[in-house]
Amino acid sequence: MSKPLTVWDLPKDEFLAPGHRMCQGCAAAITIRHILKAAGKDVIVVMPTCCGEITSTVYPQTAWRVPWIHVAFENAAAVASGVSAAIEALKRKGEIPEEKDIKVIAIGGDGGTFDIGFQALSGTLERGDNVLYVCYDNEAYMNTGIQRSGATPLGAWTTTTPVGKVWRGEWRPKKRKDLIAIAIAHNVPYAATANPAFPVDLYTKVKKALSIKGPKLIHVLSTCVPGWRIEPEKAVEIAKLAVLTGMWINYEYENGVYRVTTPVPKRKPVSVYLRLQGRFRHLTDEDIKKIQELVDADVERINKLVGKQVIGPVES
């Protein structure tokens, strides 16, 4: 295995220009910056409607310094497949040199990935198209005003899972659907999770994914200031706590082998992550216990997949 990268390996190039209108402290902006650092200039980015799209291309301006296409909410993956096929066709016709390596990346939100663009994503993964799909997951439909999605975690307040006498935030009593497992079920060569508090890990994974031919998927947690009811300066700290509590596990899957990239020998209790966020402020100790049990089960599942205990017990 090659030597792990450090912060000094991140290139200085900025392909996401400042002046974009993402909120103060938006983690999606951090994620997109590092995806683009890893991709370099020879990339075409496809984006469905989402926060990252509306805030980066307020007409007549764009924050993108690489070619970028906005498509409908439902079909980012399908359009990315089309772009990839077009590159191949132009190479066949001799209009693009055969050796020129042009990458295609689709970047979508959780609503556009877990729910509305799901069918298109499945098609891209199933056909084996040469596309990297990245889902930045802020766990709700944020730019339209914080509606629940298939990625909203148990207990989270959103405007469609309100908090009152009857509703107590998101009600789905189990772990949300597992995007990585779904990608792997399509026989993809590479799938990974990443987190904006670990940009070098994210950068390494995007680099690796882009070096592999075929469909790849990276699922990135994305702290969201208004949607999670958090202070902007805490956006990275909270993303890091997601990993330290086991609420989020940084791992990758490559040709049948699972590897946790951020081992956590001793976990913090999930309460330290939940209690910093206004969207969870109504949770009782009993509610938090339930969430802790879900996380414990998930940690056990990942440790089994990896074949050893890389994520440890909750420290007392």
Binding site: V7, L10, P18, G19, A27, Y59, Q61, T62
Partner: protein
């Protein structure tokens, strides 16, 4: 910002100037201003890595601290675009960044 008339807009409303969002100064959103104490800064690149705006600039400018430590790099803030989120100050391992209230 002057808006183009419909005859000047390219077909398909394609934007022909990559990264022209820099014309929009998000620094105006700021209520708190990050200030980097160059004496305290250990040049670790953490703030540069985490800034959502790419508004921490890494410049090849040597700096010598009063204690005599020499650095090749200096970190500065692009105040035209810094939104004042405070992530840099929160993440700096040596607390070299202070958030100061903007005077109106």
């Amino acid at each position: 910002m002057s808006l183009p008339g419909w005859k000047q807009i390219p077909l398909g409303a394609v934007i022909l100037k990559p990264g022209n969002s820099v014309e929009y100064k998000t620094g105006e959103w700021r209520t708190l201003r990050p200030e980097i104490n160059q004496e305290k800064c250990i040049r670790c690149r953490t703030c540069w890595m985490f800034c959502p705006e790419g508004a921490i600039l890494e410049v090849e400018e040597p700096y010598k601290t009063q204690a005599g430590k020499e650095y090749r790099l200096t970190y500065k803030v692009n105040y035209d675009h810094c939104k004042g989120c405070g992530i840099c100050a929160n993440e700096c391992p040596v607390k070299a960044i202070t958030m100061i209230e903007e005077a109106i």
